[in-house]
Symmetry: C2
Subunit: 308 residues, 2 copies
């Protein structure tokens, strides 16, 4: 059972990649596009690192480390070991195989290619089987304003392990960014039957996408409904700092806060079986995605809701 | 038996590194400086690669692959494998550990540090035990003019395996280069007792050093004699394209051609036992350097000649 129309999913890192993998099994070949957060992108050791793009490509192509959900399976760490020996910064781990994408991406960006073009090429060569589209080819940097200062995303997320209290989140450069060409193309497709927002962190992973001027308008103008797969089953974050950040931002840890957050963007919500109902149109299923079957089940439920 | 005064060696890649290692065992700690060819330096995959500097540091610190004489022992190749899978250029092999030096060097150069400073730091951290000094902090690029065109050094040497016929060798940028501060300092040392020219390729590895304006003058003004350890024992090149290039440049494959080449620079020559005598002051020994003992023997013979 595959869907006939085209489908777009907005996604961040690990959680979103799981839904995208499920979708890739139920959407017809060539009809799924993933619009990916690049607010986490950073220069590290002089290299352009795109964590969410790489997590998605690795997940879709079967290269991902199944335990961590990011990085590559059977990774080796010779580079990091040698880097440490010459006094290099070692708080951000780059595996030997993973490094190839950062080096080659950096080289091609410096040669004038767009992030979109490079990403499409990597996805195709690694066999992702899905159109992987950065939200923008222009730089947008997620800044986490905390009690420990105004932090770059990777500094907050990796180096400080989300410990500082979050006061606000900003997207530096967003005002000058344009949606990548593939974003416009995917959302304007006359055969579009669903736009899904993956259960990624709404504040850190989805908001950067929505911060790109014009992108929210493209969502509203799209022919298909926008369905949020909610990230907080039974009021608990599956992984990552969603619950912690909601508390720090003064939000109630409930599905109603998620509904509020996506007001004006979402048409419907796929809730977890454990969630109370919301006022907006909704459906429910067990949204926990451990196995591939789980991911396919959630993907199907989200598409079914979009079609209703 | 260690020497009391300071010693400078001009060196290129593998052959020169062997002599430098021998010298490091007979020169007093802190008194040996190696002035290294950077004409082979190139940007590869957007990274600054300094092959001769790295070969020397790896050799002196015991990290070198003993079979190849360059690169690192117990190297792994995950990066290259992953690079190939995304369509990256794979004719220049970069090992996972080796890559750390290229990435960190590139990052520090982009941050405004000098190649000298970075090189000294890497050498110290990896335990090279010798002052490793690039010939210049300014870019000088060895160009090999061949019947297949005007080639960058690595293109000629690695990609085309020295197959094209050499017509001339040029050092692009040399006219604007200055000797690195450590070069001036090492050659002006009042305790200097010997300047050795390693048995590296005179045209490809030593000439780039001598092409830096002012450097030949510093050699002439130094308080110590300049001794060439000749690279062509018995008229045969030990390794690499020296003999092939001499033929292509119309030179007789003899020690007299080497003497001619270094006229005005060298004061004396350490010949191999198999060589005929030359007109200049000279001594001889078995110059083939296979074992560490060989390298120490040649180092001692060269220093003895300088002291006479």
């Amino acid at each position: 059972m595959t869907s006939g129309g085209s489908v777009v999913v907005l996604t961040g890192g690990v959680g979103g990649a799981k839904l995208a993998l499920g979708l890739s099994h139920v959407v017809a070949p060539g009809r799924l596009s993933a619009i990916v957060n690049t607010g986490d992108d950073s220069r590290h050791l002089g290299l352009h690192v795109s964590p969410d793009i790489d997590t998605l490509i690795y997940t879709l192509s079967g290269l991902v480390d199944p335990g961590r959900g990011w990085g590559r399976a059977n990774e080796t760490w010779g580079f990091m070991e040698a880097l440490r020996a010459i006094g290099g910064e070692d708080w951000f781990n780059l595996g030997d195989h993973d490094l190839a994408l950062h080096v080659e991406r950096s080289r091609r960006l410096a040669a004038g290619e767009s992030l979109s073009h490079i990403t499409a090429d990597f996805a195709a060569r690694l066999g992702a089987g899905v159109r992987v589209v950065p939200m923008s080819d222009d730089p947008v940097a997620t800044r986490v304003i905390t009690d420990a200062g105004d932090l770059a995303f990777q500094d907050y997320f990796v180096r400080r392990r989300c410990a500082p209290r979050v006061r606000a989140v900003r997207f530096a450069g967003a005002e000058d960014a344009r949606p990548a060409p593939g974003v416009v193309q995917a959302l304007a497709d006359p055969d579009l039957e669903a736009v899904l927002i993956a259960p990624s962190n709404p504040w850190l992973s989805i908001d950067p996408i929505l911060s790109v001027p014009g992108l929210a308008g493209l969502l509203r103008d799209a022919r298909a409904p926008v369905v949020v797969v909610t990230p907080l089953p039974g009021g608990r974050a599956v992984k990552g700092p969603t619950a912690k950040i909601m508390g720090e931002l003064g939000l109630t840890l409930s599905i109603a806060s998620i509904e509020d957050h996506y007001r004006g963007v979402a048409d419907a919500f796929l809730l977890d079986d454990a969630d109370p109902p919301v006022a907006s149109p909704h459906a429910r299923c067990d949204t926990l995605m451990i196995t591939l079957d789980d991911r396919i089940r959630v993907a199907r439920a989200a598409l079914d809701l979009a079609r209703r």
